[in-house]
């Protein structure tokens, strides 16, 4: 577990450096296109990179919570959920995370934050309605393990960075269509035409690369962690049948999630975009952020 925490910290640092370089490059290109290069490009580059790295560290959890539509709930509104979260925080020896509910029918949950002192757990409305207390404890135990292992920090940073990368690559290609195109008309020279073409190529490259890179990064941070969080969560509740039964209910639930998107898929308890009942196709396995739910159930049953 301590190796896991150390590995997570290393990966987070590496990821932030990569993100800084990536956004710096894009910022410089935008500056070059709009403000004719030089100092302006550099300023934009540094500004963007700083904003993204500091933003994803300090406000990543708020960004993720907002993007999923999660609302904070009080103990009076959701006494059972609050009691279960507090109980498992006691079991894990960490402060009680903030408690959120996502207005979705599909049963699912995620944890986000920076460290155990700044963490939040969000569950969907559907999960609350569908699960009994023991199943809810299983789910919250799984999320509490993500908090303990610092999976939440890297997961949240990945979500913010991937989200920003997708956004930036879109801005960039649009920039070319408008700004870049106009610029080559203005100067009219052959050099500018070639430059514009190169920028277009880079733009296309980034457009393809950003989501793909995001996907690869997400794969590297998810999958095995889910098995681990299942196992550790059960160590907290000391009751595997609770989580098993919760996962079975999730596998059988007929609803897909509305709030599902590429940037946050890896954070959820179970992959939100999955079509119910179909988790055996090779292509899906390749691009899954989560292991097949039946495998997770099987491993828990063997404990």
């Amino acid at each position: 577990m301590h190796e896991q925490i150390a590995a997570n910290k290393r990966k987070t640092v590496l990821l932030i450096i990569l993100a800084v370089v990536f956004t710096g490059l894009i910022g410089w290109l935008i500056g070059y296109l709009f403000f004719y290069g030089g100092t302006a490009g550099l300023v934009i580059a540094v500004g963007l990179a700083l904003a993204l790295s500091l933003g994803s560290y300090f406000f990543g959890d708020k960004i993720v919570l907002t993007s999923t539509g999660a609302r904070k709930v009080t103990p009076e509104q959701e006494p059972r959920l609050h009691n279960v979260v507090e109980g498992l925080a006691i079991a894990a020896g960490v402060p009680k995370p903030e408690v959120y509910v996502v207005p979705e029918i599909a049963p699912n949950a995620f944890a986000t934050g920076r460290d155990p002192d700044h963490s939040s757990i969000a569950v969907t409305q559907g999960l609350l309605q569908m699960m009994d207390r023991v199943e809810l404890e299983g789910v919250i135990g799984h999320e509490m393990s993500h908090i303990l292992d610092r999976d939440i920090l890297i997961g949240t940073v990945v979500a913010t960075v991937v989200g920003a990368a997708i956004l930036l690559s879109e801005i960039f290609t649009r920039t070319w269509f408008w700004g870049g195109g106009r610029r080559s008309n203005n100067s009219g020279g052959g050099d500018a035409g070639i430059l514009s073409l190169i920028l277009f190529a880079v733009g296309i490259f980034l457009l393809i690369l950003a989501p793909l890179a995001g996907q690869l990064i997400k794969l590297s941070v998810s999958r095995n962690r889910e098995y681990l969080a299942d196992a550790e969560g059960v160590l907290l509740t000391r009751y595997p049948p609770g989580l098993i039964s919760a996962l079975q209910k999730i596998a059988g639930a007929p609803h897909a999630m509305r709030a599902a998107n590429n940037a946050t898929a890896h954070l959820w308890l179970e992959q939100p975009s999955r079509v119910p009942g179909d988790d055996t196709s090779t292509l899906e396995r390749l691009f899954s952020t989560h292991p097949p739910i039946q495998d997770r159930i099987k491993r828990l049953q063997e404990m």
Binding site: N83, G93, R238
Partner: protein
């Protein structure tokens, strides 16, 4: 300096480093055990606070079950004044059995079971019971780590020198928690 001299220095440095590490580890476990006990105390107090409300609500529907009410109230005040880990555990077991009887009484009154106030109290009690169980689990885990460090060689030398005392485990029955706890090997 000779090779032997360097070796002596290296051994001394390693010994000092180990002592610092082992001492800090003992302090960490002791503090966590204290934290765990404080958390148990918080949750037990919540349970004491719930009992009068629960008794009052059930009384409204089943006034003649006076014996049950008196028993749980008496157990509660004994528990509040209990001394030591084992004494506290005995007193809490009496509270748990009193609460079980109180809930068994409530089972016979469908109107009571539908009462919103009673349902809220029942959720609070279930929540508190499971928090007591989780606090106990955390405390016992930390006590196990502390006691192992105090008893095993070579950290026992350090523990004896600085008077680290082993702690008692805290074992009580749950009043309402339904599922049977599964014990893990080596946990």
């Amino acid at each position: 300096m000779t090779a032997a001299g360097w070796i002596v220095i290296a051994v001394v440095v390693l010994l000092v480093l180990w002592t610092i590490w082992a001492f800090n580890r003992l302090v960490k476990y002791r503090n966590r055990a204290d934290e765990g006990w404080a958390q148990i105390d918080v949750q037990l107090r919540r349970r004491y606070d719930l009992i009068p409300n629960l008794v009052k609500t059930v009384e409204g529907y089943a006034a003649h079950e006076r014996e049950t009410f008196e028993e749980v109230t008496a157990a509660r005040s004994r528990a509040e004044n209990a001394q030591g880990v084992a004494g506290q555990a005995d007193a809490e077991n009496a509270v748990s059995s009193g609460l079980r009887q109180l809930l068994a009484v409530a089972e016979n009154y469908p109107d009571l079971k539908a009462n919103a106030n009673f349902l809220a109290l029942q959720e609070e009690l279930t929540g508190t019971e499971s928090k007591i169980a989780y606090a106990r689990q955390y405390y016992n885990d930390q006590v196990r780590l502390l006691n192992t460090a105090i008893q095993s060689f070579p950290s026992n030398v350090l523990a004896n020198t600085f008077h680290f005392a082993p702690r008692e485990f805290f074992d009580i029955e749950d009043a309402v928690r339904a599922p049977v706890q599964v014990e893990f090997e080596g946990q």
